[in-house]
Point group: C2
Chain length 148, copies 2
């Protein structure tokens, strides 16, 4: 499985929330729709701009619920506000190219065999350190096509 269509994503999110004893409310659906449409990590500030009828507190609380239900993940970044995207099992595993100039983020894939080898090596290192890996995140930082 690599990625799902929009309807399948909503169904999957519904199941995830349901299993966590949570409801798939309108606001939550709006948030997920925005993340689907973006197709890449979004800053909370940008989500707020697009979801004008979703108050801050509701957005923050729902992002936490969606994260705990494994529907979204918080992307590690040093941006001024939090950054979220759909979970990997909904989006497919991928990495990010981050433009240091314009801040744009695009998805990128590395060869399957390398990804596999990398995961094995990371698992080994983590085990040695007593660290349990939830996921890994690989970012390329540089200049995008438009900022050269």
């Amino acid at each position: 499985m690599s990625s799902l269509n929009n309807m399948e994503i909503h169904t999957a999110v519904f199941d995830l929330l349901h299993n966590a004893g949570q409801r798939y409310t309108d606001k939550r659906r709006v948030i997920v729709d925005i993340l689907i449409q973006a197709g890449k990590p979004m800053l909370i500030t940008d989500i707020l701009l697009q979801a004008k009828n979703v108050p801050q507190s509701t957005l923050y609380r729902n992002l936490l619920v969606l994260e705990e239900s494994k529907a979204v993940v918080r992307v590690v970044t040093n941006a001024e506000s939090g950054c979220y995207e759909l979970a990997e099992h909904l989006m497919g595993h991928h990495h990010h190219m981050v433009c240091a100039q314009c801040g744009s983020v695009s998805d990128v894939l590395v060869p399957e065999h390398l990804e596999h080898e990398l995961e094995k090596a990371l698992a080994k290192v983590a085990r040695r350190e007593g660290f349990s890996i939830d996921r890994h995140q690989l970012d390329l930082i540089g200049r995008c096509k438009n900022c050269t």
Copy 2:
């Protein structure tokens, strides 16, 4: 070059600051000493605890100066406070294990050959997309030994 001894690091930091038109003051030396001793990324809150005679504002300002001078880097994490470590040319190239619960970050190495193979693959993908890579960053996200 992989890493330097303590004295060499101080000398290198002095040069970096000097080249940037900055002084290597006592407070800055204290901060660098703490980072050297830690040998891993440190949260600002933890640096403050260890450097009791360094006020918050001084710490924040000096970390910025040290970062601009390329002596330290700000590590990207979702921790509650900022996270810094010595720059790669002082510490050697490595990656990070980020605890999603407590926010702690520790350094990790992947096998040399894999690192090399990864860089080749990333260069290839980036070239195809017209993206010029400045650096890459690989984070393991999960639970640290203490948060299991």
